[in-house]
Amino acid sequence: MKEKKKQIKKYKFTTSMQKKLVILFGLVLLAFIGLSARLILINRDSGEQYKKQVLEQQEYDSRTLPYKRGDIVDAKGTPIAMSEKVYNLVLDNKLILEKETYLEPTLSALFQCFDLDETEVRNYITQNPSAQYYVALKKLKYDQIAPFLELQNDKETNPDIKGVWFEEEYQRLYPYNSLACDIIGFTGKDNVGSYGLEEYYNDTLNGTNGREYGYLNDDSSLERTTKAAVDGSTIATSIDVNIQSIVEKHILKFNEEHRDEARDGAGSSNTGVIIMNPNNGEILAMASYPVFDLNDTKNLTGLLETEELETITEDAKYELLNSLWKNFCITSTFEPGSTAKPFTIAAALESGSITGNETYYCDGYLEIGGHKIHCHNRLGDGLLTVKQGIEKSCNVVLMNVGLTVGIDTFMKYASIFNFGLKTNIDLAGEARTDSLIFDPTKMVPTDLAVSSFGQGYNVTMIQQIAAFASLINGGAYYEPHIVNKVLSPDGSTVKNIQPRILKQTISDTTSELIKDFCNGVVTEGTGVTARPAGYTMGGKTGTAEKVPRGTGNYVVSFMGYVPAEDPQVLIYVVIDEPNVAAQDNARYATIMTRDIMTEVLPYLNIYQTEELTQAEIEEQNLKAEEASASISQNSVSGNEANETPENQTGANNEGETATESEEETVEGNTEETDEPEIEIDPETGYAIDPVTGILLDPLTGVPIDPTVSNLE
């Protein structure tokens, strides 16, 4: 003990050491002063710059929260266009590579859940270590990403899955693919609608993007706010998916039947059908041919052969696509032909130029201003009443009526019927026709004469049907429309779009007379074949020769309504250049009308009022037999039937087969039951020379000159 104490006392912390310690303290103090000075200098010299730098590198990054574009639903509430949330798989390479332990678990989870090219992804990540936004996969459904989310969220077993996130967006989806493609239109990137309803109602359908963003408050501290997205409104249309598919089915059938018949290509250069409620202007169906798949709008395989597709230039391709995308029913103009005749008569009656009891003599032509303008019946129809003039579609009668009306009144009524003006249907791309009608100040009597039977000026289908609706509904011109309701995203009604009467075109009395005339067309005139069995119908055929004249190209059409006395459904069928040897035959349009109406009317709960004739009953029985036969055939070769890549349901398949058989029987009836040697033209009722195929005058038997244009 003693020794130890001595030792301790022996080695004391000497004064020199104390001095040195003080020196050391002084040095430390100096160092601190130096560092404090450095701190002050940093603040003084670079404080402002660094302050800005700090604010600058803050991420006020605003993340866009996408809105959901509204749906388009049909009359029954079935969605025909909808938006579905999809997810893009995004990789943040920087985060994945932050720790070595992240890479492998993340990659293995990715490859386990997604169909990714392993080497490609791996190479991308290692070669771009600082990339933070790599979209590996696009438009995944929730089901597809769910397994990965499960792995990622299970932090217990998979703590090292990092740097993978999903970017949400909405994808436009058309559940019926090509159905009603012309009406609906489609939506491209960034929710920009093209064509049809998608374009016209683009703003209504679109919502407002939400945003999640950061900002600096008064104290310069960062705050984050989320502004939710506002989804777009849904629009409810008057289009009925079932009617629309019936219409499209028959258009397709016609075009397939006559494919490559007189020339290469489809059964017509275009076929348009509009079905409308004449009492409120609602469009029930609107279709044209050819169609395109709304989910794959740039697919031309239906139009062109594979070799053609490979050789076609981009420009030509886009031209083709544009013609494919546009809606024939509202953008294409044509000379309406005889379906315009009721308008001429209506104008004459309404203006008091005629009473309707006049008679006119037709000897095959009328000479106006030095031109002989022929009736399509060159032999002349003889003495005709106004009604007979409509029924037989006599040009001479109409020219006489037109001349009586006079240019000014005729053109006044043309504008009352809205020709030359847009109908303002709620679809994008309606054609302007103001330059395609005659200018009253420059019109000569010949122009008036041809106008009286629908040549010389152009209309669109929608103009023609909207105006015609006013002829038969008592004179109310309804603005044709498709959308009747705007719904909020949660389904409540935001806006009701009521039918709009734009004007009164004619009086009720005139309307009744016109109906009477048009009913005659179907009962005993040129439109007999248009009538669906068991129904009364009125209407008017049309056969217009296209410009340039004399090339044998025609637009054939039929405008028809059911029931005859109280029209509930109005249909307009236009076949542009049917692919047949002799195009000037409105029968193609009337038959299609009948086929469509036969299916549509029962669906619309419009019941048969007429007794069926023996022929019609037989026809129906035959149809039923064929249908059952085709069913049994289908069940025998069941596999084949199932393999046919058709979107139609089984029921539709049967229906199609049934109508086909019906078609055959009809032809049999008209061609064979009458005279076996001399055919009768079904439209005009004239005999056809079996050798030359030229119409013969029933009275004189003199053939009608085929080289002169045959305007109806």
Binding site: I8, K9, Y11, S16, I42, Y50, V54
Partner: protein, 385 residues
Amino acid sequence: MAITKRRKKQPEYFFDYTLLFVVLFLLGFGLIMIYSTSSYEASLEFNDPAYYFRKQALSSVIGLGAMVLFAIIPYHFWERFAIPAYLISMVLIALVMTPLGRESHGARRWLYIGMSVQPAEIAKLSMILVLASLVCRMGKSIKTTKGFMTVLFVPIPVCLMVYTITDNLSSAIIIFGIAFLMLFVSSPEYKKFLLLFALVGAVASLAVYSIVQLSESGKLGFRGERILAWLDPEAYASGKGFQTLQALYAIGSGGVFGKGLGQSMQKLGFLPEAQNDMIFSIICEELGLFGAIAVILLFVLLIWRFMIVANNAPDLFGALLVVGVLGHFAIQVILNIAVVTNTLPNTGISLPFISYGGTSVLFLMVEIGLVLSVARGIRFKDAQE
């Protein structure tokens, strides 16, 4: 006289309350700053903003217990463990290479024995103990060149081990620095130190110069690049200079009084692991120059207390222990702030009591306990006479 009165009540007992107060204050302040700096990252990483705070608070409580223990035990008790402690610390460093070693942040520096321990921290403490004991045994021979060299070479093996095995240059520098300062105080020499100082300065300058020259050839390790980033942090803003530059932004944007406690923006992901070595820059950002200089003053106060205790220590061993602790604190605080302000090249040195680190705070508290124990041995002069 106040002292005389107090002496009458407690004639033999001295306790350095000032020192204790400063230590407790720094400890509490450190915990607050750790919570402030780490809560953002902790809530992202662990879903628990208090994750780092709780771990550090636990270490601090254990440290306080250790401090009390070491303050009570007379410091001479530890003298006999000087050589074993020196050897054990070397063994522990070597153990890092075995499966007991643990890797974190890309460096293998930790041992896992029930808890994570950094052997370098143990080495610092044992170096203080062994040198204090050595100098006492050497007595007057410290004045000879041989004695001088002996003291200078004792830390070398440990430093080399720390540097080579755990790849931890900063700890090696600190260990050597502690030895150097203890030697400086115990040796009567001045010339040698000036010479040594000049030598170190010359070598360092030469090293920096050659690195700058080498940089054109592009054959540089990560330390070389750190030097370049130090000279021009903006040029390496996305690489080695990133952390330094972000720290400077934090310091510069704080202004005189700072943005307010908890209002730092740099801690929100820009300054990675702000609770570690770079915590001082967040203090500057949140509390401004005022707060930063206050913290520096607290450390000055701490070191001043160390000096007082050492100068009044009852014997050389106690005094040298305190000098070692003083050296340890002074070196770490100065180097840390120098790194944060980019006065020196970036190297990982933590700020005592404030930076996050369990082992660090535990051994610092042990050192404080030793100092308090030495202080307790102080006898008032009047009483002894």
